[in-house]
């Protein structure tokens, strides 16, 4: 088999179906959404073609500014928590036996795939008054049973729960490939295992860690149900607001404008993550 550029028309055959699917059902919807973000809203949930910036203008209100700031802050806090737990965990996991690794990977994948609805339900149960963890403390006589939701802590904890498996799976390949003799070398040079982790592993992986931080940030930015199920309205994120505008307020143009904005934020961060990833090879 010579691997060469496609020459004749039939060579392009296999590409037809995937290309058509992706263009029709991803590129066109995406473009539609961008177009709608400039449309004018009509009464009763309709909208008509136009080219106005009103929808973007609405961001500039204090309310949306606050929601945006909170979304970014929440995603950042979740990303920081996940990376803080995830880096040492994944490092230790990558140094474990193959059997241990596989068992953990199955567990992590199962939780990662678990529906956000179910995670929200599970945590609201765990933090509830009737079935919650406080009953355990109450049994021990430490405190009375009480509900821990809705609260910021509940949103933050559940989102960390949801994003942690993702964090570990993003970090896993880089940590598995990390030369194990680096730590050994540090130890022969006099560094204790913990010291070796902080002076060699973490700095050697700084770009990977940065890229992971950004990936988890974007992942957390997409969280939609947990803030609704476990938080108060002031804990709602941009994702919640977009859905709210699209479905309940029937204001598609405004929802689309917010989504476009979210894309821009995400894409610039992905770009940054890719850039950080490239730096890794240069170092």
């Amino acid at each position: 088999m010579r691997r060469e550029p496609p020459q004749r028309f039939p060579d392009y055959g296999p590409l037809m179906f995937p290309a058509a699917m992706l263009v029709v059902f991803f590129v066109i919807p995406f473009a539609t959404m961008i177009a709608v973000s400039f449309f004018e809203r009509q009464q009763g949930g309709f909208y008509e073609p136009a080219f106005v910036f009103d929808n973007y203008g609405r961001f500039l209100s204090l309310f949306f500014g606050k929601v945006l700031a909170f979304s970014l802050f929440l995603a950042m806090a979740v990303a920081a928590a996940c990376v803080t737990i995830g880096v040492p965990f994944t490092y230790l996991l990558s140094r474990s036996s193959r059997g241990t690794q596989i068992r953990w990977l199955v567990v992590l994948l199962s939780i990662l795939s678990l529906s956000e609805v179910m995670i929200g339900f599970a945590w609201s149960t765990l933090l509830s008054r009737t079935a919650g963890i406080t009953n355990l403390f109450a049994m021990l006589g430490l405190m009375d049973a009480q509900a821990l939701t809705p609260s910021f802590g509940a949103v933050m904890t559940a989102m960390t729960y949801q994003a942690l498996p993702y964090t570990v799976l993003v970090l896993y390949p880089a940590l598995v490939r990390l030369d194990p003799t680096l730590t050994e070398a540090a130890r022969t040079l006099g560094a204790s295992p913990v010291r070796a982790f902080f002076t060699v592993i973490v700095p050697a992986l700084r770009n990977t860690i940065l890229a992971t931080l950004i990936m988890v940030f974007i992942f957390a930015l997409g969280s939609y149900l947990l803030p609704q199920l476990l938080g108060r309205p002031q804990h709602w994120t941009l994702s919640v607001l977009i859905t709210d505008q699209a479905i309940y307020q029937s204001n598609m143009p405004f929802a689309a404008a917010m989504a476009v904005f979210l894309v821009l934020v995400s894409l610039s961060l992905v770009g940054l993550a890719v850039y950080a990833g490239r730096q890794k090879e240069a170092a």
């Binding site: 003799t181 070398a185 130890r187 040079l189 006099g190 010291r195 070796a196 700095p203 050697a204 170092a283």
Partner: protein
């Protein structure tokens, strides 16, 4: 007692015994090579000396102190890894200074020591370079300097030169030996390259199957191999079976060869180096064979002779080229002085 002493060290991975009951004494200031084929346990033995693996049984002592249970980072040793394991996020200077930084030595002192070491490895002014931009030989030297930064009592190198090309490797072998002699540091090198071991070591430790087969000076290893594995692994040799006859003389392929001291052995193997095989005209005191192939390599001439169902190789210089042709029947003479009897 000073120096490094291994006593009855065994390492077991599951049911596999990587190192079996190894005892070895390395006096201060000597250069030892652990030599053997891959999987012989030499790297595992070195990792136990470094504390990177714990022995299943046995003990390791350094300078009279039992260090078996001391963690690696408290052993004050220097080690060069096969992968070199240079820290990719640090510069050359920071790599070399790492052990000093860990020990809290002040910056000025660190810098002075780094400059000294860079001068020693002939890379002055390289402190601020990135390790990614060095050549193979330069990386090698940096790894050596890093391991020597704290002037360790013990210097360990695991296949340190295997990534280098042949020419550079030979040069580095000489350099490493000279460096060790100048510093007088106890040094242990793991290698599978017998030339490397012969070039550098005071003592070569030949290992196979997790055991030490022989530990001796290079020339003794070559001249007086302890068993057929060592004889065959170090250089090339002809391993020729013999039986003792009634008078206690060696009988090889039906011919009696006088002069071998068999020390009462009934049968065994005689190791004869190819350069010690003499091709003569057939007579009663020689072994009869047929010339099968002649290989002229320019610098040496190798003659392959079929005798007693096995192939025997004789090597000579072109000036002493034997006057034989393929298919000719010849006599082979083995000199008891230069041959080694390996009793079974």
């Amino acid at each position: 007692m000073s120096g490094l002493i291994l006593s009855n060290v065994t390492k077991q991975f599951g049911t596999f015994k990587a190192v079996k009951d190894v005892s070895l004494s390395v006096p201060d200031g000597t250069f030892v090579c652990l030599l053997g084929p891959s999987g012989c346990g030499k790297t595992t033995l070195m990792r136990m000396i470094a504390g990177l693996d714990l022995p299943t049984t046995g003990s390791v002592a350094l300078g009279g102190e039992d260090i078996t249970q001391i963690p690696t980072h408290k052993r004050n040793l220097g080690m060069v890894f096969q992968s070199l394991a240079l820290f990719p996020h640090l510069t050359v200077g920071e790599n070399i200074a790492y052990a000093l930084r860990i020990r809290g030595i002040d910056k000025a002192e660190q810098k002075k020591r780094v400059d000294e070491l860079l001068a020693m490895i002939h890379l002055p002014g390289f402190a601020d370079r990135s390790v990614g931009k060095l050549s193979g030989g330069q990386r090698q030297r940096v790894a050596i300097a890093r391991a020597l930064a704290i002037s360790p009592k013990l210097f360990l190198l695991d296949e340190p030169l295997s990534a280098l090309d042949a020419k550079l490797r030979e040069a580095m072998q000489v350099e490493l030996r000279q460096l060790q002699q100048r510093l007088g540091i106890t040094t242990i090198v793991v290698t599978h390259d017998q030339r490397e071991a012969m070039t550098m070591a005071d003592t070569v430790v030949v290992m196979n199957g997790g055991e030490i087969r022989q530990a001796a000076a290079p020339v003794d290893i070559y001249r007086r191999p302890a068993d057929s594995f060592v004889a065959d692994f170090i250089g090339s040799t002809n391993l020729i079976p013999f039986q003792a006859d009634d008078r206690g003389q060696a009988s090889i392929f039906g011919s009696t060869i006088e002069g071998f001291s068999l020390v009462g052995a009934k049968a065994g193997t005689i190791s004869v180096r190819p350069e010690d095989v003499q091709i003569v005209t057939e007579d009663a005191s020689s072994v009869t064979g047929t010339v099968a192939f002649i290989r002229d390599l320019g610098g040496t001439v190798e003659t392959f002779i079929e005798a007693g169902g096995q192939q025997i190789i004789a090597v000579a210089s072109p000036r002493a080229r034997p006057d034989v042709t393929i298919g000719q029947t010849v006599g082979l003479r083995f000199d008891p002085e230069t041959s080694v009897v390996l009793a079974r």
